[in-house]
Each structure stands twice: as C-alpha cells, then as structure tokens.
C-alpha cells in the first residue's frame, strides 16, 4: 500500500490533502508528495523489496499509488551495467550505465507516467494529456491505451519522425503545434486550466515526479544496496535530477543503504543550458533561454525545477556541464561503440558531459560513477545519420566484398594520414 500522507509546498511548507493540485494556493510554490516515514521505517526492508515484482512497482510503498491498481506496462528494473570499456577510455575505474532505454516506450518517462496515470485513474479523470517534445508523449499515449483512458498529446510541429510515430501508434489525439516554444508552452498551460484532464506535467505533477525516484532506488539496489559516489544525470526541467537524489536519501532514512554523500552532477546541451548557465555564474537563479539544440528532449528553456536542481548540486558538491551538438553526436557514438548501447541525444549529452567533467577533474577516477541513459537512440536517428559510415555496397561475390573492404581500409588510412 501507499504511505503517501499529504502534499507539501516546497517553499512555505503548507500542507494539502492528496488531491490533483500542484501549486500552493498561498505562495504559488510547487507541491511535493510527503510520506509517513515513521510507518515506513521497519516495514520496508531489503527483503520486502527484493520479493516484489521485477519492475518499478517493487518500490510501491514509496510511491503515491498502490501497486494493485497500477497502470503498469512493465516499466523499470532496467539493467545497470558495468561499463568497463567506456570507463577505461574515460579513465574511470568504476563506471556504470543505468540503461533506461529498456523501458516499454524506450525512455525513463514510463516511470513518471506509470505513477501519473495510476493516480489520474484514482481521481477519476477520463483523459490523460501532456505537452511534450516526444518521450513523454509516447509514454502518455501508451499508458492511456493500457488504462482505457483517452489521450490528448501536444507536440511541436518539427519533431523527429520516430517520436511522432512512437505516439501515433497508440492512437491518441495527437496535436502538432505550429509556433515558437514559448507559444506552445503558453497554449498548454491555458489548456490545463480550461479542460478537466489529467495533464501529467501540470495538475498531477507532484505524483508524476515521484516516479523518477525509482531510478535512485534501483541503482542502489543493483549496486548491492550501496549508494553511488557520483551520479551523472541529464538536466531538462531538473525534476529527474532532484528525484534521483530524493530516492537515495529516502533509502538512507529507511536504513536500507549507508550514507555515502553521493554527489549529483548534471549535463545539458549548450543550445539550451539555463541550469549550467546559473551554475557557471554561481547563482541559484535561472535566466530563461530560447532552446536551440538537437537534444530536444532536454530543451527546456525555463526549467520548473532548475532552482531545486542547483540546490541539490550545491548541497552535494556536484557540478554542471554543457556540451555542443557535435559533442552530443560524439557521445552517442562513443557509448554505442564501447558498450553496445544506442542512446538518444540526451544520452549523448550525458556521455560527453561525463567526459568533460572527468577532464575538468570534477569526477574522480576511483569513484563509483553511474551515468543515467534515459532514452533510446532509434527515436532520434536523424541526429546521428550524417556521422555514420555508409554501408559497403557490393555484388554478391567474394571478390566484390574484398574489393569494397580494401577500398574502405585504404580510404581510412588516407584519412589518418
């Protein structure tokens, strides 16, 4: 069962019942789910979790919804792999990759939407809605289908085809919005006020965001009930970043892991890096930006949780970094070529960001480092196509094959000279 107790304002601390609300009526601060931690202590044990299902719902006690009523399409408990090849290349002795590409709609968004859709159904909403640059739209469409709810998803008109199809196949009302990013954002906030829908990233956001904590829980469990020394997380709204840390802290409060002073570092694409910008200025205040990057899933110009992410970074001694679009592509290729994992652009940001942090001495080589790969590469193929070697075109003969290989090797040797 769930031990969610109430919602609390992150700014003024006012308490609200567990309703579909997301801002404090008093100060307009964001609301967060608060649990009955006293009741959870002693009840939630490693054994209890280990005997649960092989999905994110093994941590249902720590989520604001019950496992029995969960809208579950098989999300979570994704692989944590030891990345020896990439680690050697970057000079890290204990590098792990949390491969969240392996969720049902191929991104970590299934975690948040599984919780949001479960709660939305409990609140008797009939429509699940979102505004998204792709991954969230895919997940909302899939979960609505599973839950027997209607879906209405808003996407920018210039989205990658893989992400459009990844929503359309579940047959939602799919709306491609012409207009600037700010216009799309404004429209969706107005729709959220007007329509009685569960807008996953508006009125059920406090519940939705809690789903990300499961990434923190899983990593600790998969490391043998040990918190990592350093997490490298992609930064968009900043919510994922803060919730992974909340997950690690909760396991410590419950006595399931020892306190390890985990450092939290984040990566953005330079074309949309308001959190990195504030970090570089030594400020906790975000200056909104107009996004212009191939890493569209991270392109949030005015991040709702940017301030809180910066606080976590400051508190844990972590750092922020930002990488160019060329580095994003390099990062995707590097992860694929060393570990066999094809990530979307956000993964390229994380890998190239990690490389920068290592070069700047901000990640120590003996730390247990976990890099979070949050979405799969097939969704953003356009980003890497120009950087890939073309197929060797041959006739169906051995001679033709060997000629083509020799010609390729010769060209490669020429490039090296």
């Amino acid at each position: 069962m769930s031990f969610a107790k109430n919602l609390r304002c992150r700014e003024c601390g006012r308490v609200y019942p567990l309703d579909p609300v997301h801002v404090c009526e008093w100060c307009f601060g964001p609301l967060e789910v608060f649990y009955d931690y006293e009741a959870l202590k002693g009840l939630v044990t490693r054994e209890r979790i280990e005997s649960g299902p092989p999905s994110m719902w093994r941590y249902a006690d720590l989520l604001p919804a019950d496992a029995e009523t969960a809208v579950d399409i098989g999300t979570g408990y994704t692989p944590l792999i030891r990345a020896g090849n990439l680690g050697r290349l970057l000079g890290l002795e204990h590098l792990y990759i949390k491969n969240d590409c392996q969720n049902p709609t191929w991104s970590f968004k299934d975690r948040v939407v599984s919780v949001a859709s479960t709660v939305a159904r409990q609140f008797e909403f009939d429509t699940l809605a979102c505004a998204s640059t792709g991954n969230l739209a895919n997940s909302v469409s899939a979960h609505a289908a599973r839950a027997g709810m209607k879906a209405c998803v808003f996407i920018p008109a210039d989205l990658e085809q893989g992400k459009v199809i990844g929503s359309a196949v579940y047959n939602p009302t799919l709306v491609a919005v012409e207009g600037s990013y700010d216009e799309v954002n404004r429209l969706c906030s107005e729709l959220g006020d007007k329509y009685p829908w569960a807008f996953v990233n508006i009125n059920v956001r406090p519940y939705y965001a809690e789903g990300s904590k499961t990434l923190g829980y899983e990593v600790c469990e998969q490391l043998g009930w040990r918190a990592p020394d350093h997490c490298i997380v992609p930064l968009a709204s900043g919510s994922l970043f803060t919730k992974i840390y909340k997950g690690i802290k909760e396991l410590f409060w419950l006595g399931l892991v020892e306190w390890n002073a985990t450092r939290m570092s984040g990566a953005q694409a330079l074309g949309c890096s308001p959190i990195y910008d504030a970090y570089s200025r030594g400020s906790l205040n975000i200056r909104p930006q107009k996004p212009n990057t191939i890493a569209k899933s991270l392109a949030i110009g005015n991040p709702a949780d940017g301030y809180y992410a910066l606080k976590v970074m400051e508190h844990t001694g972590g750092a922020a970094t930002a990488v160019t679009d060329d580095e994003v592509v390099d990062g995707i290729k590097l992860l694929a070529e060393t570990e066999g994992i094809f990530a979307e652009t956000a993964g390229g940001v994380v890998i190239s960001g990690l490389r920068r942090l290592v070069q700047e001495g901000k990640v120590r080589k003996d730390e247990v480092v976990v890099a979070f790969i949050t979405g799969a590469g097939l969704k953003t193929q356009e980003a890497v196509i120009p950087a890939l070697a073309p197929a060797l075109k041959i006739q169906a003969t051995i001679d033709s094959f060997e000629e083509a290989v020799a010609a390729r090797d010769l060209a490669a040797a020429g490039e090296r000279r």
Binding site: E11, F28, C130, A131, T133, F154, N201, G301, A304, G375
Partner: protein, 80 residues
C-alpha cells in the same frame, strides 16, 4: 472577472522600474504579489492579476513590451 497567475522575470536595468505599480495604474487590474526574489542584477516576482480577461492580456502585453519576461506560473509545461 478572471484571475491569472504569472511570473515576471526582470533583468538588470528594469529592477528599479515600478513596472507592477504602473501595470495596476495604467490598466484596470488588481495585482497581488505572492512570492518574489530580487537581487542587484535580476529578480522575479510571482503574482496574481485580477480583472477582465482582455484587460489582463493587454496589461501583460504591455509588461512584456517593457522588457520583462512574462510566464505562466507553472514555468515550462512542455517536457522531453
């Protein structure tokens, strides 16, 4: 009557301008500040604006023309 919750983000140079006072003076709207953070070089204010919907729109457009960024209180809604 409509109520709108908005966040104004000010950049350096505008911080000393009484933009919110002028908004209430020049347009038929009531402003009610709920939360704010202002430093030497920048600042933001979260406030509620009450009034006729068209008048609020006109007023907020004027605020933007002064160089202040105006956002819905939710900050960014569009997610990855």
């Amino acid at each position: 009557m409509t109520t709108k919750r908005v966040k104004f983000t000010f950049v350096q140079g505008l911080i000393k301008e009484p933009v919110i006072w002028k908004l209430a003076k020049q347009f038929d709207v009531i402003t009610n500040i709920r939360r704010a953070d202002v430093t030497d070089d920048r600042g933001w204010v979260i406030l509620e604006v009450d009034g006729d919907a068209d008048e609020i729109e006109r007023g907020l457009k004027w605020v933007e023309e002064q160089g202040v960024r105006v956002d819905p209180v939710y900050e960014d809604i569009v997610e990855g």
